[in-house]
Structure formats: structure tokens, C-alpha cells
Symmetry: C2
Subunit: 316 residues, 2 copies
């Protein structure tokens, strides 16, 4: 957690890792090694970062650390299931639970992890935390179901595309910000501002992810280029090109054409324009939080995403 | 729901089915057909029956129906995942979600269903309902992980066997009873009595299930005899025989020997004795609830299980 994005929140992240490590004991002895394994190689802890940014100011209150930890546990549970479904062997350089323990144990472990996040949420004196966490989790999974069903669906509308990525990614980003601001006892206007920031950032992040899949070098991205198109998934640049140039594009794409060469400059430009618009909307959403320490931390995330996008656009 | 076990609770079960059917609209349009499908062919609604029995008396309050529905949704979510993991094509005579929509969508749908149950639980004014539901869910999944890991493990202790079945089955039975009594505003002593009843009934039910796997005709049980042994799972009669006659039994069993012929009369007798003991413990647990309508409904369940066990024991 030594990235510039985490600077100034070192105490928060130290407390978070301690909190997460302590959860092991809530599980049966047989399950504890699985908990240890998925915590051993942390990812970016992006959702806790959103929570901490939204509740920033002074040393981290225990409720904020717990809230951030709960959101991360939900995220980890979804990763465990994603890795089973994708048959992924490694994540963050270490073996996935399905690789180590088989798909059977991994699906059930993901369930237990998610349920444990809700047990922790229910420790809060009001059901508010449970409501946000359970709701965001339901939307994440619903969004993934929708996206699964939309594979190979040529007439997927732009509205449905946005709805799916909002559910799949933006809901938990929004929940993370909301939980962070609430657990740090921020006023309602601040909570709503951070929540809206999270929602727009989530949409932006997912559009960026779509663009990475098409544009970044395999080595850099650590993943194979164009996997979305190969799996029948239509992402934003493809949908925009379809709407611009008609069915011929899809015919060529489905015949195995390289989406990077089939997508026109106009569709790339429009994709980046839409990404910029979400980033700008996220930044504007924070206006009511001005004067609090939150914009300092949260606006680093939009700046980071804007820079990353600028490095990504070779043709736009 | 016209079994004698449900008699007198017709209004409760009618309200339950109405409540469950209404949940469809909480999901995205793409997911709604999956919700409809799993509700179309109801099972025994055993956990709602425990909730209704524990909160019985007069017409069903809305909170009780909601509580029973939440518990059933958790149970349905676990069934969706079980069917993916077992590759099962049908349940209650209709196609499983993994059969109709593929394993990918089915795992995610199970997640969404479970999350929705927690969203509903969070509607309750206190976090108590969330806590019970999330906790029981975590234990169910942990128990299934433990049981998965214990397959092929020759030295599984009786204590671990009991711990696993308590987690896998008894925790949600206990939760169902607790939720039912709480949502019907019963006094603390009544809640605790029903909870303990549920716990013992759950253990009894799981032992009975182990015995069915070994003793009931294929046609009657609707499943293949001896599947537990074939999958490397050691159930109560096998563990007792192992402890009685030593390693030779396991060698013959693992070599493909028919467990029904390898298990001695003594081990059968001891299995049935242990089943009876759990049934008796469940019944005794209800003493503090005497004078309330609950024993009338709940004791029908132990009587039913005792009768079913008596019909099952050809050699004991």
C-alpha cells in the first residue's frame, strides 16, 4: 500500500490489514488457511481507499476501518467466485482458491466470506451498514449475471451497457464511499457527494477497463488483448462503432476481425470523451464536500485515471 | 404445502408464497426469470415451517412471513450453488439454474439471491435479523467447506463429524426457529427453547439423511444408494463401524465394498440410538415453550422424523 494514491492514509491501511488478518479466527479451523491465502497478497485495496478518502480526517476511527474491511471482504468474495468461473489459476501472483482447493471448496468459501462480511456489518448498532453492503453486493452479482447473458447479444443497447457496468462496478464503489463517509460520521450532504463521486468513478473505471482490454500492451496489462471481443462481450468502443457503421462491423468482428482495426477513430474518440465525462462528473460531484479533507484524497484517484487514460490513447 | 406437517398454517404459507413471488421485482429484468423458475416448484419449505412453528399463534404477522421468506431465500441460494457444484440437472422435477443458464450465471445468481435475502433482513429496524441470517449462512457454507475437505479423510473424528453437520444443517434450522420466534415477538425463554429445538432437529435430520443414503430404496429416495461412501464421505454408521472394528473396515470400504454389508448390527443400532437421542433432545428443549402454540406444530416434525426412521431400519 505504498502507492502515491495511499499516501497520508498509512495509519488507515495498517489498521485495515490488521482488521482483515484478525477475521481468520471467525472461521472454522479448516477454512482459516483459505482466509490467510487470499489476504497474503493484497491487491490495490481500491475500495477501502474510497472509504478512507470519503471518511478522511485525523486518525481512523474503528468503525471506518471495519466499514472499509467489510467492503473489501465483499470484493474478495466476488474475486474468489470470478476466479472459479474464469478457471483462473493465479491472482496477484499467488494461486487462487480454486487452484489450491478445487472449485467446490472455492465457491463455498466465497459464500462464507461474503456471509462473514455481512456478519461484521450486522455488528453495527443500526441496520444501515447491512443495507448498503447487502444492496451493493446484490447489484454487483446481478450486473455480472446481466453481462453474462449479454455475451453474443448484437443488439445490446448503450443504455443496457451503462446499466450493466453501473451494477457490476459502480454500485460497490458508491457503497464504499457511502460507508466511509457514514462510518466517519460525516453530514448527509458529504455522504451523498462522496456516494455520487463513487458512482461516476466506478463507471469511469469500468470504461477504462474496457479500453485497456483493447489498447494496452499484453505485457503491461498482464492480460491478453481483446479478450472481451473474443468472449463475445461488446464493450463501449465496439457498441459505438456498431451504432456508427451498422451491422457490417459486427459481422467482421464475429468473424474474428481484430476489433482494434475495425473500430474507427470517431468511435475511439467518443469512447474517450465518455470516459472523460464520467471523470469530470465524479469531480463535480465532490463540490459539496469542499472544505473537508476528502477531495484531497479522492481527486487523486480521478487524476490518476485521467493520466492513465491519456497514456492509453494511441489513435484518438 | 398440503402435507399434514403444514396443517393449520395455511394462511402462513399462502402469505409466504406471495412474499417470495413479490421478490422477483427487486431483481434486474434479465434476472427475474431465474427467480421465477426457482420459486415455481417449491420444496418442503421446511425452514419456513420451523419459523412459523416457532412463532405460531393467530394470523401471521408480516415480520414473521418476511423472516421465514428470508431464511428460505438463503436456503434456495445454497441449493443453487449445490446444484452447480454437483452438476445437477433437475431439482423438484424442474431444470436447475445451471442447466438452464449455465454454471457461470448460476453461481452469480446464487450470490445475488443470498445478497437479496440480506437486503430484506436489513429492512428490519434492528440489525438482529441480519446478524442471525448472516451468521447462519456463514456457518452453512463453512460446514460445506469442511465436509468437502473431509472427503477421503480416514481419521475424521466423531466430534468433527458432529461439528460439520451442525454447521451445515443445524445452524440454519436453529436460525429459522430463532427468527420465527423473534419476529412473532415471543419472550426470550421461548426464543431460546425454539432455537435449541432447531439445532437438535437439524443434527437429527442430517443423521437421518446419512441413514437414508445407505438404507432407503433408490426409487423411494429418488437418489442412488450409497453415494456418500462412493464419494469418499464417511457418515455416522461408517464412522461408528470404523471405531468399532478398526481399519480393516475402511480398507474394504475404499476397495469398493458395499457399506451396507460391511457395517455391523452394533454400528447400525448405535446410529439409530444417536438419531433417537437428538430427536429426544429436540423435544425436551421445547419444555420452556409449553403452553404456547409452538410445541403443537414443532413436535409434529420430531414425530414425523421418528416414524420415518422407524420405517428405515431393517437391520437394527
Amino acid at each position: 500500500m505504498s502507492s502515491p494514491l495511499h499516501a497520508g492514509l498509512e495509519a488507515h491501511f495498517a489498521a485495515l490489514e490488521k482488521f482483515l488478518a484478525a477475521q481468520e479466527l471467525a472461521f472454522e479451523p479448516e477454512v482459516r488457511p483459505m482466509v490467510r491465502d487470499i489476504l497474503a497478497h493484497p491487491g490495490k485495496r481500491l475500495r477501502p481507499l474510497l472509504a478512507f478518502g470519503s471518511g478522511a480526517g485525523g486518525p481512523p476511527p474503528a468503525a471506518l476501518v471495519r466499514g472499509a474491511g467489510i467492503i473489501e471482504l465483499v470484493h474478495l468474495a466476488t474475486l474468489v467466485h470470478d476466479d472459479v468461473l474464469d478457471g483462473a489459476d493465479t491472482r496477484h501472483g499467488s494461486a487462487t482458491p480454486n487452484r489450491t482447493h478445487g472449485a467446490h471448496a472455492a465457491v463455498l468459501f466465497g459464500d462464507a466470506l461474503f456471509a462473514h462480511a455481512l456478519v461484521l456489518a450486522a455488528d453495527h448498532p443500526t441496520p444501515e451498514l447491512c443495507r448498503i453492503v447487502a444492496r451493493a453486493s446484490r447489484e454487483v452479482c446481478s450486473g455480472e449475471v446481466c453481462q453474462t447473458f449479454s455475451r453474443g447479444q448484437d443488439d445490446l443497447s448503450l443504455d443496457d451497457y451503462y446499466r450493466h457496468i453501473r451494477l457490476k462496478t459502480a454500485e460497490l464503489f458508491e457503497g464504499a464511499c457511502q460507508v466511509g463517509a457514514l462510518m466517519a460520521d460525516r453530514p448527509a450532504g458529504h455522504v451523498a457527494a462522496c456516494a455520487l463521486f463513487g458512482r461516476h468513478l466506478g463507471v469511469a473505471y469500468q470504461i477504462y477497463d474496457d479500453l485497456i482490454d483493447l489498447l494496452q500492451d499484453d505485457a503491461k496489462a498482464g492480460k491478453t488483448l481483446g479478450t472481451d471481443a473474443a468472449s463475445g462481450k461488446l464493450t463501449l468502443p465496439m457498441l459505438l462503432e456498431r451504432d456508427r457503421s451498422g451491422k457490417g462491423f459486427l459481422v467482421e468482428l464475429r468473424a474474428g476481425g481484430d476489433p482494434r482495426r475495425l473500430i474507427s477513430t470517431e468511435a475511439w474518440r467518443e469512447s474517450f470523451r465518455r470516459l472523460d465525462a464520467e471523470i469530470a462528473a465524479a469531480e463535480q460531484a465532490l463540490a459539496p464536500a469542499e472544505g473537508s479533507p476528502s477531495p484531497f484524497f479522492l481527486l487523486r484517484l480521478t487524476a490518476f485515471l485521467r493520466d492513465a487514460a491519456a497514456r492509453l490513447s494511441p489513435r484518438a
